[in-house]
């Protein structure tokens, strides 16, 4: 599976959504962070975040660009479109169509610039048929983008959250966080400390630290 591309966010987001749509499942809100136009991180809440508390799912997504200082974000997910002019609730729901909401945000100076597109889709004969995208002013994730990409403000005088704790914490709560090759080290997500994790996870952190120590020692021997 290829990650989306900054130069074709709508097409590539829809391609990623297709497999899920063809399985009859709802496309979960999925966030990709880009650095210098390359995708580096993928975040997707687990199903339990969607069934109970969509706000928590949104927060899990929004915190990633904020903490990591990412300035280019793509978010896409399932959208259900109803016609507000239909008076009857049941009829309006029955005639609903389904779409993917694709939103791109980037920070330009002190401003957050967003692009929102809705792409309606139907499934026919085992294939997804996409309508041409419709541009919108606002979508379901626009607030999230504006919040996540806002220039950093120091609200409280707290130590910054480490990228490693962020990745660990979100994963424990069922949110998938994945990174492009080399970026786990670049973000510092491999630098977990025993004190940052639950007791049950400490053995693994200890093994990880040992392996890292061995790797560093052998690299030094090679270099000297």
């Amino acid at each position: 599976m290829q990650p989306p591309r900054w130069d074709d966010p709508i097409g590539s987001a829809c391609r990623e959504a297709e497999a899920t749509i063809l399985r009859g499942l709802q496309v979960r809100p999925t966030l990709y962070g880009f650095v210098d136009d390359e995708p580096v991180i993928r975040v997707q809440p687990g199903v339990v975040a969607l069934s109970g508390d969509m706000d928590a799912a949104m927060q899990h997504l929004a915190v990633v660009p904020t903490v990591l200082g990412i300035e280019q974000v793509l978010v896409f997910g399932h959208a259900r479109l109803t016609d507000p002019e239909i008076g009857d609730d049941h009829l309006r729901d029955a005639l609903a169509t389904y779409a993917i909401d694709v939103e791109v945000g980037r920070r330009e100076g002190g401003e957050v610039v967003t692009d929102v597109h809705m792409v309606e889709r139907e499934v026919e004969d085992g294939e997804v048929r996409w309508q041409p995208p419709t541009e919108l002013e606002e979508g379901g994730w626009t607030d999230l983008l504006r919040y996540a990409l806002a220039p950093p403000r120091r609200v409280l005088d707290l130590p910054p959250v480490s990228a490693a704790c962020l990745a660990y914490g979100l994963s424990r709560w069922g949110t998938v966080v994945e990174v492009a090759p080399g970026w786990r080290e670049r973000f510092g997500m491999d630098r977990l400390d025993r004190r940052d994790v639950r007791p049950i996870d400490r053995r693994r952190v200890r093994d990880l630290t040992r392996r890292r120590g061995t790797a560093r020692r052998s690299t030094q021997e090679v270099g000297s």
């Binding site: 599976m1 290829q2 990650p3 497999a19 399985r23 009859g24 499942l25 995708p39 991180i41 993928r42 687990g46 199903v47 339990v48 069934s51 490693a164 990745a167 660990y168 979100l170 994963s171 424990r172 709560w173 069922g174 949110t175 998938v176 966080v177 994945e178 990174v179 492009a180 090759p181 786990r184 973000f187 997500m189 491999d190 977990l192 994790v197 049950i200 996870d201 053995r203 693994r204 952190v205 990880l208």
Partner: protein
Amino acid sequence: MKGRPTWETYEAWLTGFLDTPDADLLEAPLAMIFTGGHADWLIDARPERPDDEVDPLTELAVVVGELAPDAAVVAAPVRIRDLHEADAPIVSRTWVVTSYAHRADGEGYDLRTRTLPVDGIGSASDLDVEHGPVASVLDDAIRNRLGVAPVHALYTAVSWGHQLMVDGSGEVDLDLSAGAPADAPASGGTRAAEAARHRLGRHARDLATRHQPTAGWPQPLRRPAVHASTPDGWQAACPI
């Protein structure tokens, strides 16, 4: 059921199994290990016991993750009862199947959870992957393998009380020089096999505890993330 299940036919095989007389004895999960599209091994899980530190499903997932085959399936039986007559016999049965498949033309693997037809009606359908009872454990076991030799992983499965079944007619590509798994409980196995069993036992207990629903919430779905479709070449951000 005749013949080895293949990657294309295992769902029909599992559904058909429910029509056989043995289906009423079916209380335990089943794992299938595929190589080159054919199921080399079936592992029939041991019954659950009240004093289990690790449940049989988690043990299966740990062994499957350790074997790291081309593809595998962990199938949990589902018993369907009438809500209004909970004491009456089971109305029907099906399976919830979590499958793992190495990507042929890329890096990484895919995980899916599907439910199979009930009474042969309809077709199999996908569920969100977390609905598989061991989806998160299987994902974790695959990504954090101990590196135990396959024959030792199978030896461990047998020593835990699971049953291995292999179709005698085909070629099974597995080095059995450490001793045939079927002999394991009686002979005690080599020292290497015992050491591997000890490590896997600790690993299984760790996994069972790590994948308990997150503290404070009884929902069975609130567990660590399942990396069901990672982009090619990417990895989980959290290294543990």
